[in-house]
Amino acid sequence: MARFLVRRILQGILVMLLVTLLVFGIFFLGGNANTVATRLAGRNATPQTIALVAKRLHLNQSVPLQYWDFLEQLVWHHNLGYSYFHEQPVGSVLKQAAPITLSLALGAAVIWLILGVLSGVLSAVKRGRIIDRAITTLALFFYSFPTFVLGLMLLFLVSYQLQKRGIRIFPGQGYVYFSASPTKWFESLVLPWITLALVSAATYTRLTRGSLLEVMGEDYIRTARAKGLSERRVVFRHGLRSALTPVASQFGIDVGVLVGGAVVTEQVFGMPGLGYTAVQSINNGDLPVIIGIVIVASAAVIVANILVDLVYAVLDPRVRLH
């Protein structure tokens, strides 16, 4: 088990290295020191800034040395570079954006997991009945529903309509930091959470339903029934326990991806998280921030994958003990 974990972590590090190599290749290669520096310095950079960038990043050195420098900054100094657009280190820019995305992603994830798994179980247990059809149809509906349309609809139907009647609970736009006001933080997140959760829950409904239906055909489910257990216990303790394994791995990956930025939701609700910042940076030609987000997002996915493996091992003794 420990050995397995070490191997997975080493693999993760290797993948991360490949990511940095790719990022470096895309953004630092092609052109002489001056063009690269211009690229990194942003749209309205003065010649002085460009010269400074070239000097700071040693762009006149050989390519391997440049890469080594890039890595060294990243690993030893946790330095993601400097945003000449924001006139701040990239790290600081991301530090402001990350909590927003994290709040959004984790909150929504909890909601969609509960929603998806419960509706999936209900659907599977009532297979072929009206309630199953209703859930399956609804899941398909939300699955194919564009996130921004759902977000805008919620904005209009909930936020706007309430505000028209003088009720200002869901602000609709912007984000309030938890440290500023926990209740306002919560209010600012409710609609984005619902948007993100509804769109993603559908996948989990279908995944749970399919997985549970398959498991319920297993011999050990027949044994559980033959033992005289209640049907509820058979479904939740015996069926769902196994059915959750594929759900858990999907969940880890989805959350990992989402931590890199919930681009559309953040846009619709005007929340300056990582996704929002990424789009903004593209518009502004703020390359260092884009590089930073790519690296952070990749790291999130890799960490999520390792966590998924861990969860697998916790769930399944056959993995744990070998």
């Binding site: 297993e218 050990y220 027949r222 044994t223 033959a226 005289g228 326990r241 003794p317």
Partner: protein, 339 residues
């Protein structure tokens, strides 16, 4: 009164391809402490019949009666049947690996059954009981192995654990659905011995489902021979082996390696079992029967006593008494084929 009496059980599965007539009017009974063997080829409805009376088949249309200790299992409220499952009727199945939950410890699974029926018993006491049970079925160092997961057990040990679980609450009836099919020969014998010993000790009745006549010979008091969802012949074990009437039973015996002459000729029954959706007319065995007559294609025979013995019945148009049956056999298999 019999412990279990199944009367005219019919089980039909509606499928996309049509109605699957898995069980078509099966009757049998099991007495306390006795063993009933149910034998028949794959797909003859052995598992479906026994699982249906315990309420374990889903999506089936069920008709008939199944009296267990005087009450009809098929008309019972769900909760009541649930209470009987595991407590009064234990079950073990063919594949002991897939029958145990891979994610839970063996001991936990036994404790779960005990506590499902007896809320009053403490976890500790239930665990103690689980250890005892594992010892009873011959698991070495049961106090340690009780914490193992199923995959840490060998095939034979898993089936013993299943037996321990099924016998945990000392049920009146044990349904063993091909308990040895997935095991190798030496382990098979061990598992059968364990069942036999527990049966003797606790006076449990057993339904032994198998397609292995060797298992029947070793364990059964009475035998039901099934084909295409119906009983072809039913009798005490000796009559089934040495005085059978039905050509299908005869065919099964002939497929045994040691049957008949010393050349050990193997004669498997030709052909394959019929589709349960479009069954043949008349006697369901007629497409494969060496004795087939015109009447067999037109009319389906019912179970009738052989030689006026009410405990020996056969569903076949061949004569049920007198020398007619024996003569037919000599015609088909030749003089040498004495029954």
């Amino acid at each position: 009164m019999a412990l279990l009496e199944v009367k005219n059980l019919k089980v039909t599965f509606p499928t996309d391809d049509g109605l699957v007539q898995a069980v078509r009017g099966v009757s049998f009974s099991v007495d306390r402490g006795k063993t009933l063997g149910i034998v028949g080829e794959s797909g003859s409805g052995k598992s479906v019949s026994t699982q249906t009376i315990m309420g374990l088949t889903r999506g089936a249309q069920v008709e008939g009666e199944a009296f267990f200790q005087g009450e009809d299992l098929l008309k019972m409220a769900r909760r009541q049947l649930q209470a009987i499952r595991g407590r009064d009727v234990g079950m073990i199945f063919q594949d002991p690996l897939s029958s145990l939950h891979p994610y839970y410890r063996v001991g936990w699974q036994i404790v779960e059954l005990i506590r499902a029926h007896d809320r009053a018993i403490s976890k500790k006491a239930a665990r103690q009981r689980a250890v005892e049970l594992l010892r009873l079925v011959g698991i070495p160092r049961p106090d340690v192995r009780v914490n193992d997961y199923p995959h840490q057990f060998s095939g034979g040990m898993r089936q013993r654990a299943m037996i321990a679980m099924a016998m945990a609450l000392n049920p009146a009836l044990l349904i063993a659905d091909e308990p040895t099919t997935a095991l190798d020969v030496t382990v098979q014998a061990q598992v059968l011995r364990v069942i036999g010993r527990l049966q003797e000790e606790f006076g449990t009745a057993v339904i032994m489902i198998t397609h292995d006549l060797g298992v029947i010979a070793e364990t059964a008091d009475d035998v039901v021979v099934m084909y295409a969802g119906a009983v072809m012949e039913a009798a005490d074990r000796d009559s089934i082996f040495y005085d059978h009437h039905h050509p299908y039973t005869e065919g099964l015996m002939r497929s045994l390696p040691a049957y008949g002459d010393d050349r050990q000729r193997l004669t498997p029954i030709g052909g394959t079992p019929p589709s349960l959706i479009t069954l043949p007319s008349g006697c369901k065995f007629h497409p494969r029967c060496p004795y087939v007559m015109d009447r067999c294609r037109a009319e389906e025979p019912e179970l009738e006593p052989v030689e006026q013995r009410y405990w020996h019945t056969s569903a076949c148009w061949l004569p049920h008494s007198g020398p007619g049956r024996q003569e037919a056999s000599e015609r088909v298999y030749g003089e040498a084929a004495t029954r």
